[in-house]
Symmetry: C2
């Protein structure tokens, strides 16, 4: 098993994508697939698939391919999705509220259990399955809720202080929606969600011919 730091963000992104493809195959009742067929269906590279998976074990059978269910379960466990993850949202404005509803929907492995905000107009509101608490209570909210993941849905200028507060509170990972580069703490992995990437992929298809 490679060390965490040796797995590139693009590899993780591909593993996640492979899992999604396998879930799609499961929905269609497909039980076995070769790397070539997987590549053909989802516009991937068969060599890349084999190389990515070989890092983590022996999943395929030469000449037969992968057992879809077995590989899906392996990837699920590899990605840490075989147990639930509790999340706290920092910033319960429009984005935080949307995320509480969106992330709370149909996500076995991820559950929003708490939210904090600094605005007196928002504190005390019931959103999703919890009541919004003050940002100043963050450390206690993390402790009480057992949240492992913090979601930053605050304006750019408030993101660093809230990342630091989450790290101080013992959170294990942070998903950042604020459009700003943050200074990371060792041991508190940070994943930036940049919606521009999705827009850029779409813009490619709108190029003038």
């Amino acid at each position: 098993m490679p060390e965490l730091d040796e797995v590139s963000p693009l590899t993780l992104n591909r593993l996640s994508f492979y899992l999604r493809c396998l879930r799609h195959l499961q929905e269609q009742g497909i039980q076995r697939i070769s790397s070539q067929e997987l590549a053909r269906r989802y516009h991937l590279s068969a060599t890349q698939i084999r190389k990515d998976l070989a890092q983590f074990g022996e999943f395929g059978i030469r000449g037969v391919g992968y057992e879809v269910d077995v590989l899906a379960e392996h990837l699920n466990a590899l990605l840490g999705l075989d147990r639930p993850h509790a999340m706290v949202i920092v910033g319960m404005g429009n984005l935080g509220s949307a995320l509480a509803r969106y992330l709370g929907f149909n996500y076995g492995a991820f559950q929003v259990v708490a939210g904090v905000d600094k605005s007196p107009q928002v504190i005390g509101r019931k959103i999703g399955g919890f009541t919004v608490r003050p940002t100043t209570d963050l450390a206690q909210v993390v402790r009480d809720s057992g949240a492992e993941i913090g979601v930053l849905a605050v304006p750019a200028e408030a993101a660093q202080e809230n990342y630091d507060a989450l790290a101080d509170a013992g959170i294990k990972g942070v998903l950042n929606f604020a459009p700003v580069r943050l200074k990371r703490r060792p041991g508190v992995p940070l994943k930036n969600v940049d919606l521009r990437i999705n827009l850029e992929e779409l813009a490619f298809f709108l190029r003038s011919p």
Copy 2:
């Protein structure tokens, strides 16, 4: 230049990522970089970088590397980011409102110019720089605003009909936030935003050792 269908979503994702890396290098005043150094800094594969870029032209100079500004401008144009794209948001609830503000912020190439909703409580509200119009006026809103990209921020069960309505209205591409698989129309590319992928990447780092 390869045909659009020959470029995989993962390649586009990487091109977007390379552009982001180059912007980061520009911020630091770095003018030249080799594929090896680019790979080392951002945990990428030098071979992959060279292969990806070679599809679209001759960007690097052997033994010298890439001119950061030149390559960034090439990728920018390649991704269709060298001109503005007008966007209309369908569904101006929490998510749509958050996207109107989020996407409208600091995004030269993408601008939210209009939003529609079916709720009488939301129609007529001023959000960002526009007034929300009824979903039933979508075709006219697209025509009046010149929107090229439609953003679906509606519940899953309303996503397909609104994708179809956007396609009928002549929209050129759709970014879908609804957690549902849509039936695509030829000529109307669709990009699904799945926040689970970001969470899955984060969960990987929270695995028990």
